[in-house]
C-alpha cells in the first residue's frame, strides 16, 4: 500500500559501497552521498498517498484548569477529518520515560505553557491550523508555581501534581532527590581543617537542544489493526513501549522504523508527535504526518534543566582540597521526563574529577509550571561543572595559585575513588589533559594594525575597530559518565548476516540504533569489516524487527550497540570457522578472517569465505550487556553507579568588547581521552560539535521563561552559535584503552559539552574581572547595566 514511504530501500543504496576501512580508519559516512544530494529521507520528508496532516492545540497558559473544550466549529471545517481530546484515547492516557505522569492530551488541567490539549487531522497544514484555531477552550487561569520558594511550599502555592495523583519518588513538588556523603561529610570539625574556604551561588539558564530537523513522522494504519510509525527518535523500542498502551494495542502490533533524524542531543529521548500521529491515524484510518514548526518544537520537547547551585570548597594553604559541599536545585518543569536520572548524575558527578576527602551533596529536581526538562547532551553534569570549575578558579585566586596547577594538584586518576565510593578502574588522565591544553601555543595577540573587523566581537555589525577589546584565557576540565547508570541494564542488540552476493562475501548489520548524525552506522560497518574480513557491508534500516539498541544518548551507542555488532560478528565468525572445521577437519587454533579469506595465521590461507559459505547465510543476533551497576544509596549516595567515566579539558581564549559587552571566542582548545578512536574523523567531529554547544550555553543560549511563559520560541530569539561565533577548535585525542570496554573505547559525545562552558566563562572573567556567576553570560552582565 505504501507508494512512496521513502525511508528504507533508498537510504540503503549507497550503504552497499565497498571499502577496506575497518576500525581505526575514517571511511566516509554511508549516508553521505544521499545527504549531499538532498535525497536522504528525513522524517519531515515522508509522504504517503492520501495522507493527512496532524496538528496540536497547545495551552497558552502555564497553569490552568480546563473548564470546557468545544470542538464543534473545528469539526465542521471542510477538509478536517478528526479532532480528538483525551476523551478519545482508547488506551492508557499517560506516558513517560521513567514515570508515567504526562497525559497524552491534557485532562482537565494544563501544567505548562504549550501543553497539548487537542489534536486535529486535516488535508492541508493550513486547514489543520485553522481548525486548531476554531477549538474553543475555556480556562480557569491559575497562578503558576515557578520559583524554588513556591515549589518548596505547596501548602501556600499549590501542587503541580496533587498528592492523590503524584506518581514520582519524591513528595510535594519535589520530583526526585539524591543525597551524598563521602569521608566525614561536611561538619564544623571538617570545615575547621581548611585554611581557605570559597563559596558561591551559581545559576544556569534553560538550554535547548535546537536540533535542526523538527519533530516529525508518519503514522500509517495497518490492516491488522496495528500501526506502522516512521519517526525521528533516539530510541525506537522505548517509544513503542510508551505509545502502544495509549493506542490500546499490543506492542508487537506497533512497528517502528527510524526515519532520517536531523540531530537529537537528548531532545528526542521523550515522545513528541508519536502518540498524536498514531491516535489520528487510528481514528481516521488514514496515514497521518506531523511536522512541527520551529515554535512548536520549542514547546514540543524537553530542555536542559536550569539550575541554582550553592558550592563551598575548603582547602589547605598549599592547595589540597579538604572538603566540598554543594546543593543543586534543578527545575524539572511540569513532568518528570528524565529528571530522576539527571538528579543522579548531578549528585554523583557534581564534585568534578577531583580527589576530595570529605564531600556532601544534595541534588533535587522540582516539579513546577515551567517547561519540562529532561535529557540534553551532558545530562546533569553540565550545570554542576559550571559550579565546581568556577569554584576552582576562585580557590586558585584566593590561594594565589595557577588555576591549572591547582586543578592538577587535586586531579583524580585511575585507582582513586569517586565521592560515591566507586573506584575509577580505567585511565583517568585528568592532569595530563589539562597539561595538553595548557601547552598548546596561544593564538597570536590582536594585531591592531592589521585588523579584519569581522573577527572581532560584534563581527559583521562592525561595532569596534579594536578599541575597548580585552583578551582573556580560561581553563576547565569535566567528568561525564557513559551509558545508563544506577542499576539500569541498557543492553543493545545486533544482528549480523554473512552471505555471498554477486560472488562477493557481504555482511549485513541490523540494529535498532538511532543514527542521529553521530555516525554510528559508519562505525558498525567498520566493526563488521574488521571482524569478518569483508569489504562490503550493508546497513539494514533501523526498526523494531530486531531487539532494542537502547537510546542514542549517554555517549553510549558505540560502546553498547557497537559492542553488540562486535559480538554478533564474532559469533558469525565462529560459526563460519566451525563450518570449515566440520568440512575440512581443520585443527588450527589461529584461524582469522581477512581480505575475504579464512586464514591460519601461521599456515596462511585455508579457503575463501565465498567457497566456504556457498549458498548458505549465517545470520546471528547477539545482545551486549555492560557490566552491572547498582543504584546509589538514597541517603549517602554510595554505590558502583556508573559504567564508565570520560574526561575532557579545555582552554578558551576570548576577546571581549568591554564597552558593548560582546564576546568573541578566539580559540577553544579541547583534549579528551577517547580510549580508542574507532573513527577519528567522527570522534573529532563529536568533540568539536560538543564544544560548540557548550559555547552556546556560555554566551548566548537560553530559553527565557517569565511567569511560566516561554518568551523566545524561535531561532530569531533563541540564538545558537553561527559559523561567525565559533572559533577554530583544535582537538587533541588521547587513546588510553579502557579494559572493560569493547576495543577499549570510551564514549565521546558529551564530555566536551560538560567541560567547555566554564573555560569560556573563566576567560571572560579574566578579561573583565567580573564575577559572572550565571550563564549564559549576556552583554548586560559585562557592561554593568544589569
Amino acid at each position: 500500500m505504501s507508494t512512496r514511504t521513502i525511508q528504507g530501500q533508498k537510504n540503503l543504496q549507497d550503504i552497499n559501497q565497498a571499502s577496506k576501512d575497518g576500525i581505526g580508519g575514517s571511511p566516509l559516512r554511508p549516508d553521505g552521498t544521499l545527504k549531499v544530494k538532498g535525497e536522504f529521507a528525513y522524517s519531515s520528508d515522508l509522504w504517503h498517498e492520501d495522507m493527512l496532516w496532524g496538528m496540536a492545540l497547545r495551552s497558552p497558559h502555564p497553569r490552568a484548569n480546563i473548564l470546557s473544550v468545544d470542538i464543534s466549529e473545528a469539526v465542521k471545517l471542510p477538509g478536517v477529518y478528526a479532532v480528538l481530546t483525551h476523551d478519545d484515547i482508547p488506551g492508557s492516557k499517560f506516558y513517560g520515560l521513567e514515570i508515567q505522569d504526562q497525559p497524552a492530551l491534557a485532562i482537565d488541567k494544563v501544567r505548562y505553557h504549550g501543553e497539548a490539549i487537542a489534536i486535529v487531522a486535516a488535508d492541508h497544514p493550513e486547514t489543520a491550523r485553522r481548525a486548531v484555531k476554531k477549538i474553543k477552550v475555556e480556562y480557569e487561569v491559575l497562578t503558576p508555581i515557578v520559583t524554588e520558594e513556591q515549589c518548596l511550599d505547596p501548602e501556600t502555592y499549590g501542587y503541580v501534581h496533587e498528592p492523590h495523583e503524584f506518581k514520582s519518588h519524591g513528595h510535594g513538588n519535589i520530583c526526585h532527590s539524591q543525597k551524598l556523603v563521602h569521608g566525614g561529610g561536611v561538619t564544623d570539625e571538617i570545615r575547621a581543617l581548611a585554611d581557605v574556604v570559597v563559596s558561591g551561588h551559581y545559576e544556569v539558564g534553560m538550554q535547548d537542544q535546537a536540533f535542526l530537523g523538527p519533530e516529525s513522522g508518519l503514522a500509517v494504519p495497518a490492516e491488522d489493526g496495528g500501526m506502522d510509525l516512521y519517526v525521528a527518535t533516539q530510541w525506537l523500542h522505548v517509544d513503542r513501549q510508551q505509545v502502544a498502551p495509549v493506542l490500546g494495542i499490543p506492542e508487537e502490533k506497533l512497528r517502528l522504523t527510524l526515519a532520517g533524524v536531523g540531530g537529537a542531543f537528548g531532545g528526542r529521548e521523550d515522545l513528541s508527535m508519536q502518540i498524536h500521529a498514531c491516535l489520528l491515524a487510528q481514528r481516521t484510518g488514514k496515514p497521518v504526518k506531523i511536522v512541527y514548526a520551529r515554535d512548536e518544537s520549542f514547546f514540543g520537547h524537553v530542555h536542559r534543566h536550569p539550575a541554582k547551585m550553592y558550592y563551598e570548597h575548603g582547602a589547605t594553604r598549599d592547595g589540597k582540597l579538604v572538603y566540598a559541599d554543594a546543593r543543586i536545585v534543578l527545575d524539572g518543569g511540569a513532568y518528570a521526563s528524565a529528571s530522576p536520572a539527571v538528579v543522579g548524575n548531578a549528585a554523583s558527578l557534581g564534585h568534578g574529577p577531583y580527589n576530595i576527602p570529605n564531600v556532601r551533596m544534595e541534588a533535587i529536581a522540582l516539579y513546577s509550571n515551567n517547561p519540562s526538562c529532561g535529557a540534553m547532551r551532558g545530562f546533569g553534569a553540565v550545570q554542576a561543572c559550571f559550579g565546581y570549575e568556577t569554584q576552582m578558579d576562585k580557590l586558585a585566586a584566593e590561594l594565589g595559585m595557577d588555576p591549572v596547577e591547582l586543578r592538577q594538584l587535586n586531579a583524580m586518576s585511575e585507582g582513586d575513588p569517586m565521592p560515591t565510593g566507586q573506584v575509577i578502574d580505567s585511565p583517568a588522565p585528568v592532569a595530563q589533559l589539562l597539561q595538553i591544553v595548557k601547552d598548546r601555543p596561544l593564538p597570536p595577540p590582536l594585531d591592531l594594525d592589521n585588523l579584519d573587523v569581522r573577527t572581532l566581537p560584534g563581527a559583521l555589525s562592525n561595532t569596534s575597530h579594536g578599541e575597548g577589546i580585552v583578551r582573556g584565557v580560561g581553563y576547565s576540565v569535566g567528568i561525564k559518565n557513559v551509558g545508563f547508570s544506577e542499576g539500569f541494564d541498557d543492553y543493545s542488540t545486533a544482528r549480523v548476516r554473512l552471505e555471498v552476493i554477486g560472488g562477493e562475501p557481504v555482511a549485513m548489520v541490523h540494529t535498532a540504533m538511532a543514527e542521529v548524525g553521530q555516525g554510528g552506522i559508519t562505525v558498525h560497518a567498520q566493526i563488521a569489516r574488521t571482524e569478518l574480513g569483508v569489504e562490503q557491508v550493508t546497513i539494514h534500516p533501523a526498526n523494531t524487527e530486531v531487539g532494542s539498541a537502547g537510546s542514542t544518548s549517554a555517549s553510549r551507542q558505540t560502546y553498547m550497540t557497537g559492542g553488540a555488532v562486535k559480538y554478533a560478528a564474532e559469533a558469525v565468525k565462529a560459526a563460519l570457522i566451525e563450518k570449515g572445521r566440520r568440512r575440512y577437519g581443520w585443527t588450527q587454533t589461529d584461524i582469522i578472517l581477512l581480505g575475504g579469506k579464512v586464514i591460519s595465521e601461521a599456515g596462511g590461507p585455508l579457503v575463501s569465505i565465498v567457497d566456504l559459505l556457498g549458498d548458505e547465510a549465517i545470520d546471528l543476533t547477539r545482545e551486549h550487556h555492560h557490566r552491572p551497576t547498582v543504584p546509589f544509596d538514597k541517603e549517602t549516595g554510595q554505590g558502583f553507579g556508573h559504567v564508565q567515566y570520560t574526561f575532557c579539558a579545555n582552554r578558551a581564549v576570548v576577546d571581549v568588547d568591554i564597552e558593548l559587552g560582546l564576546v568573541k571566542v578566539v580559540e577553544l582548545t579541547a583534549a579528551q581521552d577517547v580510549g580508542k578512536a574507532l573513527n577519528p574523523l567522527s570522534v573529532i567531529g563529536q568533540i568539536q560539535g560538543g564544544c560548540t554547544q557548550a559555547l552556546g550555553l556560555a554566551v548566548m543560549e537560553e530559553i527565557i521563561v517569565k511567569d511560566g511563559k516561554v518568551r523566545n520560541a524561535s531561532f530569531t530569539d533563541y540564538l545558537i552559535p553561527t559559523i561567525l561565533d565559533v572559533p577554530p577548535i583544535p582537538v587533541d585525542m588521547l587513546e588510553l584503552p579502557d579494559p572493560h570496554a569493547p576495543y577499549g573505547l570510551r564514549g565521546v559525545g558529551e564530555a566536551p559539552t560538560v567541560s567547555a562552558t566554564p573555560s569560556i566563562v573563566a576567560a571572560i572573567r579574566q578579561a573583565t574581572g567580573i564575577a559572572l556567576n550565571r550563564i549564559p553570560v549576556r552583554p548586560e552582565h559585562l557592561t554593568g547595566t544589569l
Partner: protein
C-alpha cells in the same frame, strides 16, 4: 492557484497551490524536491537555501506565487551526469556532514560563494555562511570542506586552462 516555474532545468507545474504557501512548501510537498530543508521556516537557519534566478534565497521566505515563470535551482540540481559537484564531494570527504539537515542549504550557499570568489579567506567563508546554522559539527569540518572544494575547483580550473 497554479504555479509554473523551472526547477533544476525542468519545467514544473503545481496545481491547487494555496496563496499562503512558500516556495519551500511547493518544492517539498508538491513537486517532489524535499532536499531543501524546513528547520525554521522564518529565514533564520538557511537550511532551505535555493537559487532563485541565480541568487541564493531562503525558499521559506519566498511566496509560491513569486516564482511564477522563474528559475529555481535546488540542492538536487547541483550534481550532474558526471557526478557530484566538487562542493558536495568536499562536504562528504571533509566530514562536514553529520545529521545533514543543514547540508543542502550550506551546499547551495557555498556553491554560490565559490562561484563569486574562488579562493575566499577563512573570514570570507565565515561571513558568507553566517546565515546557515549547523548544530552538529561546530563548523570546523564545514570550514575544511569549503577550503577543500575551493582548492579542488581551482586545481581543476588551472588544469583546464
Amino acid at each position: 492557484m497554479r504555479v509554473t516555474f523551472t526547477a533544476n532545468g525542468k519545467p514544473v507545474e503545481a496545481d491547487d497551490v494555496w496563496e499562503g504557501e512558500s516556495l519551500l512548501y511547493v518544492l517539498r510537498e508538491r513537486v517532489g524536491l524535499p532536499g531543501s530543508k524546513n528547520a525554521c521556516e522564518q529565514g533564520e537557519c538557511g537550511s532551505c537555501t535555493v537559487y532563485l534566478d541565480g541568487t541564493p534565497v531562503c525558499s521559506c521566505l519566498v511566496a509560491a506565487g513569486q516564482v511564477q515563470g522563474r528559475e529555481v535551482r535546488t540542492v538536487e540540481g547541483l550534481a550532474d551526469e558526471s557526478g557530484l559537484d566538487p562542493v558536495q564531494q568536499a562536504f562528504i570527504d571533509a566530514g562536514a556532514v553529520q545529521c545533514g539537515f543543514c547540508t543542502p542549504g550550506l551546499l547551495v550557499q557555498t556553491h554560490d560563494l565559490l562561484d563569486r570568489q574562488p579562493q575566499p579567506s577563512d573570514t570570507d567563508i565565515r561571513e558568507a555562511l553566517s546565515g546557515n546554522l549547523c548544530r552538529c559539527t561546530g563548523y570546523e569540518k564545514i570550514m575544511d570542506a569549503v577550503r577543500l572544494a575551493s582548492a579542488r575547483k581551482c586545481e581543476k580550473a588551472g588544469a583546464s586552462e
